[in-house]
């Protein structure tokens, strides 16, 4: 009934059936090709350069990491057949496969491993891996398939990082020969696909690499259509222009799921939605920070924008992972917020002024959550000027230390280790944290070097709690991935939300 009135409002024929998706294309659907609608483009083809979470699945088509993850996020062999971390965590020995070739035909050797994780960083290339692998002082290459990483201080999470953001192996000789600019135009990796075409901001076309060392993908051709606007993505999957898409509003996802040919999924993943905050400017006063956090009704956010599927968080870790605290909650308490603000002389009539940044269309309801928070703050006495960024700009500003007082962000942690959350969210010496206070920073730094597992995890737990209590971190919700695909398209679901075309199949 409500449906009909809506249709009448639109003034269009009521009884128009949905035509079969393939009718749009005008030619029979190939069974070995797939098109996915993706919210953003890659920021260049150098996979070590920028840690953009949404670009990782695309990079994983072209490149490989030394270690990989299974759907349960356990570490499994990748380019490396075996690995061994020393008990003091000061060295990591890796044994590489001997049957891997790059797209240009050259064989993968430990020289490429050394180049990726040490030489190019030492040469001063502007890459984010210089951060994640800053502890590396040398990599020994006793043979073409063996490499030993030597760290200046204990690196207990090194194996996990070999499977994480940006740790893709790039070809040393090719990169040195053609230079970085040309590499960006004609990238070469070891991955299951090679780059066939890239129209920046529009689409990426990849062709299967038949000489791939690993399991051969079913899809011969993958097209990534870059569609920034969530409603355009919804329209694209609805009309059959794409076969799978992600990051649409939850309501749209639910509606699309009712279409006979489509399947909708709401997958909680290892990302967390949070507010990253500064320790200076408008947020120098702890009262304001804590008030801002108390004022946010996370349950209401989850209900309004995620159909209650997103779990509210009080610590920057997801439930069920090490580092989580079952017995700690940070309450939603607007009265407490007002009280704290009045202690510093602020009220709704005389609000504290800050600035806030958010993405728009990058993850479901991001812009809506930001605006809702601004509204919640208004009622207690904080006035926030909102600004929209995209991921690339977020990274630029973060690196330059110029993010505003609060930034809404969806922080990825594909490996699930607490170090990859707080260790980066709150480390002042890293370019991922607008929080530059050294007191907390020193504690964070210390936890990176603890070799004993139990001690390390306990340390992170305590740190997470303290960070929230002093208002250094405002976790909001566990991310929920919204995904809509054709019913006859199967893919392997990962706990960290990876969507990998090399695991896709038509059923």
């Amino acid at each position: 009934m409500a449906d009909l009135s809506r249709r009448a409002l639109l003034g269009v024929l009521v009884a128009v059936p949905h035509s079969a998706p393939s009718a749009v294309q005008g030619y029979p659907k190939a069974r070995d090709a797939v098109t996915i609608g993706w919210p953003g483009d890659v920021a260049g083809w150098d996979p070590n350069r920028r840690f953009v979470p949404d670009a990782q699945p695309i990079y994983k088509m072209l490149y490989d990491q030394p270690l990989d993850q299974d759907p349960r996020l356990n570490l499994v062999p990748g380019l490396a057949k075996a690995w061994q971390l020393a008990p003091d965590a000061r060295s990591l020995e890796v044994e590489l496969r001997d049957d891997v070739t790059f797209h240009d035909g050259t064989k993968l050797t430990s020289a490429d491993f050394r180049w990726t994780f040490h030489e190019r960083i030492a040469a001063g290339h502007e890459v984010d891996t210089a951060r994640s692998w800053r502890k590396v002082v040398d990599i020994e290459t006793p043979s073409a398939t063996r490499a030993i990483m030597r760290f200046g201080s204990p690196a207990p999470t090194a194996p996990a990082w070999l499977a994480f953001l940006g740790s893709f192996v790039v070809p040393k000789h090719y990169m040195q020969k053609v230079g970085l600019a040309a590499f960006g135009a004609h990238p070469v990796g070891t991955g299951p696909y090679r780059l066939a075409e890239h129209q920046p901001g529009t689409r990426i076309v990849l062709e299967r690499n038949d000489a791939y060392w690993g399991p051969k993908p079913t899809m011969r051709r993958v097209t990534v259509q870059i569609i920034n606007n969530p409603s355009a993505r919804a329209a694209a999957i609805e009309s059959g222009n794409v076969d799978l898409t992600v990051a649409m509003p939850v309501r749209e996802t639910a509606r699309l799921g009712h279409i006979a040919t489509l399947e909708a999924e709401l997958n909680p993943i290892t990302r967390i939605i949070l507010l990253q905050v500064r320790d200076d400017a408008g947020f120098a006063d702890r009262n304001i920070r804590l008030a801002a956090h108390h004022a946010i009704d996370k349950q209401a956010l989850s209900q309004a924008f995620y159909g209650n599927a997103a779990v509210p968080l009080s610590v920057p870790v997801i439930p069920g992972s090490p580092g989580f605290l079952d017995d700690f909650t940070f309450p939603h308490d607007p009265d407490m917020a007002r009280e704290l603000l009045s202690r510093s002389g602020y009220s709704p009539a005389q609000p504290a002024r800050i600035r806030m940044a958010t993405t728009r269309g990058q993850f479901p309801a991001d812009y809506d959550i930001a605006r809702a928070i601004v509204g919640m703050w208004k009622t207690v006495g904080i006035e926030a000027a909102l600004e929209v960024l995209d991921y690339a700009r977020y990274f630029e500003l973060n690196r330059a230390g110029r993010l505003p007082e609060a930034t809404l962000y969806s922080f990825d942690n594909a490996i699930g280790d607490p170090e990859a959350y707080a260790g980066y969210l709150l480390a002042p010496h890293q370019p991922y944290s607008p929080w530059k206070d050294t007191a907390l920073g020193e504690k964070v730094r210390g936890l990176f070097d603890v070799p004993g597992e139990a001690e390390r995890i306990a340390g992170w737990r305590a740190l997470n709690r303290e960070a929230v209590e002093i208002g250094a971190c405002m976790p909001l919700l566990r991310s929920v991935q919204t995904l809509v695909r054709r019913k006859d398209l199967a893919y392997r679901r990962f706990g960290n939300g990876w969507v990998l075309p090399q695991t896709m199949d038509w059923i």
């Binding site: 969530p230 409603s231 309501r251 509606r255 209401a300 309004a304 924008f305 309801a365 509204g375 909102l386």
Partner: protein, 279 residues
């Protein structure tokens, strides 16, 4: 009496009604809007339109009243369009009169300025001015004035040149009238129909420019009620609450059509009257 004559034109009547309606709604918005346009209610998001209820046009993704936002959006649109168009007209007309009347070097200089600015597509220039100056309605008005004055200047300059060559203007000068007086009494009235038409049309254009800028999220604060912003947000709400998209779209249509009809009708009436007067 002359006003009544103008109203006999169907176009003028229709246009006037539309514009007057939008203007009234915009002015009265704070009084008649059922809710605060920025008041959120996360338990009432994306409610469809229901005329008798507390939210006659429904709510948006943050639970804000669409009708209230529509009314305040009218306020914003007109507070940009009217000063913007007037400013562009004043600047453009002043320069056109100077160029057409004084001729010679002034004419050539102003002509070159017009040529240079019109080499940019107007919307593009407005966008980068907004980008350079920063967001906000005042900056948008400034941008519109700095770009659209050319539209007035170009057309008027030609017209002024024609008028200036007429006998009555030369006669006025011979009689000893100052330049300003000649302009005011002899030249300006002859170009009035054109001016009025252009002004009304420009207001319509400015409304669209404001909508485009707020659609792109470049011109206004993210929470402000703006038609373009409502349309951008409304795209995702189309299936749950179509009023989110349809209401601001209809509002833009009515406003722009109103200005177009008014400008077109008035222009014709005034031109016809000038011809009558001279006969």
């Amino acid at each position: 009496m002359t006003v009544l004559r103008w109203l006999r034109s169907g176009r003028v009547l229709a246009g006037l009604l539309a514009v007057a309606l939008v203007l009234a709604l915009a002015v009265l918005a704070p009084a008649i809007a059922p809710h605060d346009p920025e008041a959120q209610d996360l338990t009432m998001t994306l409610q469809p339109a229901h005329l008798g209820s507390a939210y006659p046009l429904g709510t948006d993704a943050l639970g804000r009243c669409v009708l209230s936002r529509l009314l305040f959006g009218a306020r914003l649109a007109l507070s940009v369009a009217i000063p913007g168009a007037l400013g562009a007209m004043l600047l453009g007309a002043a320069l056109a009169y100077a160029a057409g009347y004084l001729g010679g070097r002034t004419d050539r200089l102003i002509g070159r300025a017009v040529d240079a600015v019109t080499l940019f597509p107007p919307l593009i220039l407005i966008l980068i001015l907004v980008f350079a100056l920063g967001a906000g309605p005042t900056n948008l008005v400034l941008a519109i004035v700095l770009v659209d004055w050319t539209r007035f200047c170009r057309v008027l300059r030609h017209e002024v040149r024609v008028v200036v060559q007429r006998d009555h203007v030369a006669a006025a000068r011979l009689l000893g009238f100052s330049h300003i007086r000649t302009l005011a009494i002899e030249v300006v009235p002859a170009t009035l129909p054109l001016l009025v038409t252009l002004l009304a049309l420009e207001m319509g254009i400015a409304v669209v420019v404001e909508a485009i800028v707020s659609f792109l999220g470049l011109g206004v604060q993210p929470d402000q009620a703006a038609w373009g912003q409502m349309i951008a947000d409304g795209r995702t709400a189309l299936h749950q609450a179509p009023a989110n998209l349809l209401a601001p779209a209809a509002a833009i249509l009515v406003t722009v059509a109103g200005f177009n009809l008014l400008g077109d009708g008035l222009g014709r009436k005034l031109a016809a009257r000038l011809v009558e007067d001279r006969a």
